[in-house]
């Protein structure tokens, strides 16, 4: 079968005000040098809508010479019916930190993709890469040569250091306590080998957020979450506080009463903060950005272990290092990350994420291996049961 398919169900999704992905797939067939790819994508998708199941096979092993990742093999299970998507591999291009582009760079990416691919993209994939959807095995080396010669490398896939990602950070946000874009870029460059040649037990994701608002969802979606924070007092501009009140903000109700630690008061038009009680949650700063600023000593909290539910349930990352300085060239941070990965790599079974391994081996084993002392900031509360372990080294402390 070739040419365009009848897609009455998909066409329904071209109606309505929200931009339509079906329209996008149709448009891809207009600019790609291989229009049958997007056409057959639509044909197969219409069939999925009719029969309520997908028709993609597991990824096979495809890639570019010298790399073990960055390309994900994808094949239709109906290659005779939809030959345009018989091979429909994904190419992950490593995004620039903070997802900033110039029109010139994007057009270059599009021109190459129209020549050697379906014309469909994801901007961006869940981990952060600029995802090029749908090409065939024989084009992969050409695609890689075209992009890499212009300064664009592949991202990661498989059991490897996955493409790190970050929030917009100090490029355009007054709250960012760390240079999240630079940390992300620096770590990406530092771990090129671990990204492109999978040698880990499973995937390992790093995400960097500049503050506890966590716009890149580091705490929920990264094995290693780096979240900017501060020490010292929140900086208050009382003149700006007055302007918020004058503009109609109910400071007592919206700020003081919503502070989770009750460390704030508002009297005679002045905000006071008992900073020792503040847990730096970001509520007041986010709502009164002109009046309140984070404290002056900047750094990051390192948390470890978050993942989606497969297999025994989701995890959020656990606080491991409450505060670490994060200034270029980030040596202390890199040493810590390398120790964390080494312990995981030495101990994990295949397909075991670091959060799962910590549960199996115990937090003590992990903390000792990476040289971090137990600290109350790491837990909500101490244990409730009396069944605790003693190491020989503990018993020697008389």
């Amino acid at each position: 079968m070739s040419g365009k398919h009848k897609t009455p169900m998909l066409d329904e999704l071209e109606k309505g005000p929200w931009p339509s992905y079906i329209t996008e797939i149709k448009k891809a067939s207009e600019s790609s040098s291989m229009p049958q790819m997007a056409n057959d994508e639509l044909g197969q998708l219409e069939k999925s809508f009719r029969t309520k199941r997908g028709y993609w096979k597991h990824g096979g092993i495809v890639g570019v010479l010298g790399y073990g990742g960055g390309v994900i093999g994808r094949y239709s299970s109906l290659p005779e019916e939809f030959p345009g998507v018989a091979h429909f591999h994904t190419v992950r291009l490593n995004q620039p930190s903070g997802f900033f582009y110039t029109s010139e760079a994007l057009k270059m990416i599009c021109d190459i993709w129209d020549k050697y691919g379906s014309g469909m993209t994801n901007v961006h994939g869940s981990t952060g890469d600029l995802v090029l959807l749908g090409t065939t095995t024989e084009h992969l080396e050409t695609i890689f040569a075209e992009y890499s010669s212009r300064g664009w490398d592949l991202g990661s896939s498989g059991s490897a250091m996955r493409t790190p990602s970050c929030c917009v950070g100090q490029a355009r946000c007054e709250w960012s306590n760390i240079n999240s874009m630079d940390i992300c870029n620096d770590l990406t460059q530092h771990f090129q080998d671990q990204m492109h040649r999978p040698s880990f037990p499973y995937k390992f994701k790093i995400k960097v957020s500049g503050c506890a608002c966590d716009c890149v969802a580091a705490i929920a979606r990264a094995d290693l979450s780096i979240i900017g924070t501060w020490k010292g007092n929140i900086q208050i501009d009382q003149a700006e506080v007055k302007k918020y009140a004058d503009a109609g903000m109910d400071i007592q109700k919206e700020i003081i009463e919503m502070c989770p630690t009750n460390c704030m008061s508002y009297n005679n038009g002045q905000i006071k903060i008992a900073d020792a009680e503040c847990n730096r949650c970001m509520h007041c700063i986010a709502k009164m950005t002109k009046a309140l600023k984070p404290g002056k000593e900047k750094g990051a909290t390192i948390l470890v272990g978050s993942k989606a539910p497969i297999v025994v349930g989701s995890l959020l990352s656990w606080v491991i290092v409450p505060f670490i300085k994060c200034e270029a060239p980030y040596d202390e941070l890199k040493e810590m990350i390398e120790k964390i990965i080494e312990w995981w790599d030495d101990n994990a079974k295949p397909r075991e994420r670091i959060g799962e391994l910590i549960e199996v081996k115990g937090m003590r084993s992990f903390l000792e291996a990476i040289g971090v002392d137990p600290q109350p900031q790491q837990v909500y509360e101490p244990r409730k049961d009396p069944f605790f372990f003693w190491a020989e080294s503990d018993l020697e402390k008389k």
Partner: protein, 356 residues
């Protein structure tokens, strides 16, 4: 034609190449920002310099021609500079205030949805679905499109008590942040997989397949060089299918989606939270999944009506109690809502203080 010379391990291009001059100049020195309209904001630097941002919706699946179109808009109004957000919105970075109105006019004329900033719905994070994933048991993009068509005003104009983060995942692998979203859809199976034993023998590594099962429901069957599944122990996660495709977890008649609520990522006011089960199952209903759309709208509007200003969905529910959430939304409470997998100890009530 000779290929250009490939380079390996160069990493991504340095971000500085893509920053507008005003950002380069004021990097790390931003003082504050103001949300001007639901789709525009201005950031002001300590130097007094300003940069304006216009945020527009994207379906995440973009054709090269659409990327060219937004690139052309960026050239016309933003000296070629633009970015994307972590929720896949397009952001035009405008250095010259006089270009804001003509940019907004052209976006309106071209029918872009401008919005998503502040206490409202931003773009929905979602996964590949039937478009491109072997493991999908729904079409994530279609649900996103249908939900956002219905809730469009909550992106472009209407206010909510706080931001509401939506997500759709097309299987329990959850490549999107469904597990920590205000309201989210996750596709689920409800029947144990059907095994093609002949193909298991040919295509699968038996120990890996057994090891993939979190509930130890898979046992070896050495006599026939295959496996057997203890169906009573299976909780339909599909992890075995990922390592051994002849164990087919898909079941078009019994697959569908669940709706979870109350998760969040940031630490503002309350700690990050997992999403919890609200509706255990709705059948797949292409092309527009109307019952899913209605269910999400009901939860959203109940939240909008009852929550206090600045409360996220999960914070509102924790304040009123889950028993009140089910009452206010009219959602039926079922056996599926009681955790009988790993968290029963933490989730059963151990107090006589509760509401009706």
């Amino acid at each position: 034609m000779a290929l250009p010379k490939r380079q390996t391990d160069i990493g991504p291009p340095h971000y500085e190449k893509f920053l507008p001059p005003v950002i380069k100049k004021n990097y790390g020195k931003w003082k504050y920002h103001e949300v001007l309209t639901p789709g525009t904001m201005v950031h002001v630097a300590e130097s007094g310099d300003k940069i304006w941002t216009v945020r527009a919706a994207s379906p995440r699946i973009l054709s090269t021609n659409t990327i060219r179109e937004i690139s052309n808009l960026a050239e016309k109004y933003c000296d070629g500079y633009l970015r994307f957000t972590t929720r896949n919105n397009i952001e035009f970075l405008v250095s010259d205030e006089s270009k804001m109105k003509p940019l907004l006019d052209e976006l309106k004329a071209k029918k872009y949805s401008v919005g998503g900033i502040g206490p409202r719905i931003s773009n929905i994070i979602h996964t590949q679905g039937w478009v491109h994933c072997h493991s999908a048991c729904t079409d994530a993009s279609a649900i996103v499109k249908s939900v956002m068509d219905e809730l469009h005003d909550y992106f472009t104009t209407k206010e909510l008590p706080n931001k509401v983060r939506l997500a759709v995942a097309c299987c329990v692998n959850m490549c999107g942040a469904v597990h920590c979203s205000d309201i989210a859809v996750v596709a689920v199976h409800r029947k144990p997989p059907v095994v093609n034993h002949e193909m298991v023998t040919k295509a699968c590594e038996i120990p890996t397949t057994i090891g993939s099962c979190p509930t130890s429901a898979i046992r070896p069957n050495p006599k026939d060089k295959t496996i057997t599944i203890n169906e009573e122990r299976c909780m339909y996660c599909g992890n075995c299918f990922t390592v051994c495709p002849p164990i087919d977890i898909h079941n078009p008649e019994e697959d569908g989606v669940a709706i979870v609520v109350g998760g969040k990522i940031g630490s503002l006011r309350t700690d990050p939270k997992f999403s919890k089960l609200a509706i255990p199952f709705i059948y797949n209903d292409p092309p527009r999944w109307p019952k899913v759309v209605d269910a999400i709208k009901n939860i959203l509007e109940t939240y909008a009506k009852h929550a206090k200003k600045h409360e996220r969905v999960g914070e509102w529910i924790e304040r009123i109690g889950w028993e009140s959430f089910f009452k206010l939304t009219g959602i039926e409470f079922t056996f599926q809502h009681i955790d009988d997998f790993t968290f029963m100890r933490d989730t059963m009530r151990t107090s006589a203080a509760f509401k009706y």
